[in-house]
């Protein structure tokens, strides 16, 4: 049957789901940005790996590079703001690659004409405070202004560079490996969604945005070579990140739903909105794949850290079904789907 002209036409525009962190975004990257990208050889990890960042071998070390553009509406939300997010997000991507020494960040901002200077100063103060907390400097930056309405108030791009002797990829899982999550899931996505949809929820729903570098150092110290895979479950949430980890490693993952830590507030907001906390973004959590013998050791190290006290072993890599997530709910089992596009509140 011939393609349908109308349907093809609207598919050629970028839609919100292309930025949702799920399959639509990955397909777009593969179809547009990856074309020809394999032609440039990299000793380390390049674009085609679609990992959290890149790694380039320099002598007996790797230079890790990662970049992230931050847009969020509203700029200030319970638990954080775009400034904190822009530093933590990039630091976390470096950390997920196994970085042991942070070298520095760059910061490019694009501002909307008419933005209040006070807002910019508050964002900058927040960036600075987060940098200080992590112990990483901003090395260089760039500022641009666009006309009113041409951009939504403020966009921040940060690039990070770091060093490590051993890269941790997101594809290192083997059958039998345990999956650990470093804390409660879904807090950031649900907090922002509640605010954005003007749900007027009051209570303890807060973003979890936090830099994870220090926590990851404790994990690497406790687990060593047994830490085989790491990924931060940002857009698309735990479901999307674990799909990627399973797909790249050619394993399945069996998850125990009752073991997944969810804060009461996120659980409540999820129930109200009909959204699974496993499907929404986290900004201060990591998923860590460890060899089974090291799982308890790594878990203990996490629990001793303030950002890891709710850490839990939530799953195990299994041989079949490859590339899929099986969720044991306690009542039965189901496949955990990868979210498509931005999650929206449901009525049914």
């Amino acid at each position: 049957m011939k393609p349908i002209p109308g349907l093809v036409k609207h598919n050629q525009r970028i839609a919100m789901r292309h930025g949702g962190g799920g399959r639509a975004m990955r397909t777009l990257i593969e179809e547009v940005f990856m074309r020809g990208a394999d032609d440039i050889p990299v000793d380390g990890v390049g674009l085609s790996a679609m990992d959290d960042g890149a790694a380039i071998r320099i002598g007996d070390q790797y230079l890790i590079v990662t970049t992230d553009s931050h847009v969020i509406h509203p700029l200030f939300f319970p638990g954080g703001d775009i400034g904190m997010l822009s530093i933590a997000g990039t630091v976390n991507d470096l950390s997920m690659m196994g970085a042991t020494q942070l070298l520095g960040l760059t910061c490019g901002v694009i501002l909307e004409e008419g933005l209040e200077r006070d807002i910019l100063e508050r964002v900058q103060a927040s960036m600075q405070a987060t940098c200080r907390e992590v112990g990483v400097p901003i090395l260089t930056g760039d500022t641009k202004v666009m006309g009113k309405g041409e951009i939504d108030s403020l966009v921040i791009n940060t690039t990070g560079v770091a060093l490590t002797k051993r890269i941790v990829r997101d594809n290192g899982l083997q059958v039998g490996d345990r999956i650990i999550v470093t804390g409660t899931v879904g807090d950031h996505g649900l907090a922002v969604m509640a605010l954005r949809n003007k749900l007027e929820l009051e209570g303890d729903l807060r973003s979890d945005v936090a830099p994870l570098f220090d926590l990851v150092q404790k994990v690497l110290a406790a687990g060593g070579d047994s830490v085989v895979a790491m990924k931060d479950p940002t857009r698309g949430g735990v479901a999307s990140a674990l799909h990627e980890m399973a797909g790249k490693a050619g394993v399945g993952i069996l998850i125990s739903e009752q073991a997944v830590p969810v804060s009461e507030a996120a659980r409540a907001a999820g129930e109200l909105l009909g959204i699974d906390p496993l499907h929404v973004a986290n900004e201060g959590k990591a998923l860590i794949g460890v060899r089974p013998e090291a799982a308890d050791r790594v878990l203990a190290a996490l629990k001793a850290h303030p950002l890891g006290r709710n850490a839990a072993i939530i799953g195990t890599a299994i041989a079949e079904p490859k590339g899929k997530l099986v969720l044991d709910t306690g009542f039965g089992k189901r496949l955990l789907a990868e979210p498509e596009g931005e999650p929206l509140p449901r009525i049914c």
Binding site: L7, N197, L327, F331, E340, L344, P345, I347, C348
Partner: protein, 375 residues
């Protein structure tokens, strides 16, 4: 219900006992398959979410009926909302509706083209927007009677003049007759939607049961609610007792919510209309009564949907077998469009639209994957 109280209905030990009982009953009847249907998206959601399908007996077929109001919102209704949005009217709607395709476009698509689409949690948010503004605000109202009562209440509560409702509300009871009367229907019993029955009362199903001699069990949405209701329903099938049994008495009464019913019928009147992928359902659509013309988007605007069509509407809909899939007589593998012209990103029929639609689930997971053996 306190969180703890709700968790009582999520008790895996009781659930295990109920599934064992269900298994025994099905064995006792001794033929296969026994087909029952739920007519509720939230039942499917709960069944899927808690992985209950792997706990059901293999010979018990729990068919997902036309119970998702998003799936069965008809294409021309989506087109109306899309056309209005393209005319420059601000359209508010529930999050579920944004990605549902019309003839050529969804609301999400036209948002990409610059149309003003607002996702709201409830109709009150849309009314509030209208109050704070002078521009026209249209609320694209979808959902069954449970959701329609909220629309009715908002209209009865003196909304501003620049607010109007584009009603695509549906009324459940008539569609059960349609499904039962479909040629080849094997449905031996229904699980009725507990939340809709809160409004209408369990008594609303008695006429249907008397006419069609098929049992109906009103069920809640926690895992134990669903399992217990299935046990009851299979018992009724075994005993050949066509009755209405209310297994959700903590929320549903025989008469229903009279206050809500009064408001509902003050504002809406049932009319016949198509349900996407199913059929024309007599009295299946809820439209605003004549007295509410001032707030009826269809009376207020000249909605020209034909200007959406930059080509003749596809003939594909004619080949879609969602109706048969939802009536339980066919599966996606019988459909010529499945996985080819009909995909999650370009759904043709109702079953591919909803995340819990049969075709969508099949497409995502490569058919019916048996997870029972995984440990």
């Amino acid at each position: 219900m306190k969180p703890g109280e709700q968790l009582k209905f999520r008790d895996p030990v009781r659930a295990k006992a109920l599934t064992t009982r269900l298994e025994e009953l099905v064995k006792e009847i001794g033929r296969d398959p026994i087909s029952v249907m739920h007519v509720c998206g939230s039942h499917e959601q709960a069944i899927a979410r808690f992985g209950l399908r792997t706990a059901f007996p293999l010979k018990l077929d729990v068919v997902m009926g036309p119970g998702c109001p998003v799936c069965i919102t008809d294409v021309p209704e989506v087109d109306e909302a899309v056309a209005l949005a393209l005319q420059g009217v601000r359209v508010c709607t529930y999050g579920d509706m944004v990605r549902v395709p019309g003839t050529v476009k969804s609301l999400a698509d036209v948002r990409g083209d610059g149309a003003n689409i607002e996702v709201v949690y409830g109709i009150d948010q849309a009314v509030e927007l209208a109050r704070k503004s002078t521009e026209e605000i249209v609320f694209f109202a979808t959902g069954f009677e449970t959701t329609a009562v909220a629309t009715a209440a908002a209209l009865l509560n003196d909304p501003p003049k620049n607010f109007s409702v584009l009603s695509a509300h549906k009324y459940i009871p008539p569609v059960m007759e349609i499904v039962t009367e479909m040629p080849g229907s094997r449905i031996e019993g229904f699980l009725a939607a507990g939340h809709a029955a809160i409004i209408t009362g369990s008594g609303v199903f008695e006429a249907f049961v008397n006419t069609h001699k098929v049992p109906v069990v009103v069920a809640g949405f926690e895992p134990l609610d669903i399992l217990a209701a299935l046990v009851k329903l299979v018992e009724l099938v075994r005993d050949q007792k066509p009755e209405v049994v209310n297994m959700f008495p903590r929320c549903v009464t025989h008469e229903g919510n009279k206050v809500a019913q009064e408001q509902l019928w003050k504002v809406f009147t049932p009319t016949g209309g198509r349900w996407r992928g199913i059929a024309h359902v007599p009295n299946g659509n809820l439209r605003l009564r004549e007295e509410w013309a001032a707030f009826d988007t269809r009376k207020r605007f000249n909605i020209d949907v034909s200007r959406l069509w930059d080509y003749a509407p596809p003939k594909l809909l004619g080949q879609c077998i969602c109706g048969e899939i939802m009536s339980g007589s066919k599966s996606p593998k019988h459909c010529a469009l499945f996985g080819k012209e009909c995909l999650p990103e370009n759904p043709v029929g109702a079953c591919m639209v909803s995340s819990e639609g049969t075709c969508r689930i099949w497409h995502q997971y490569g058919g019916h994957l048996d997870l029972r053996g995984i440990s």
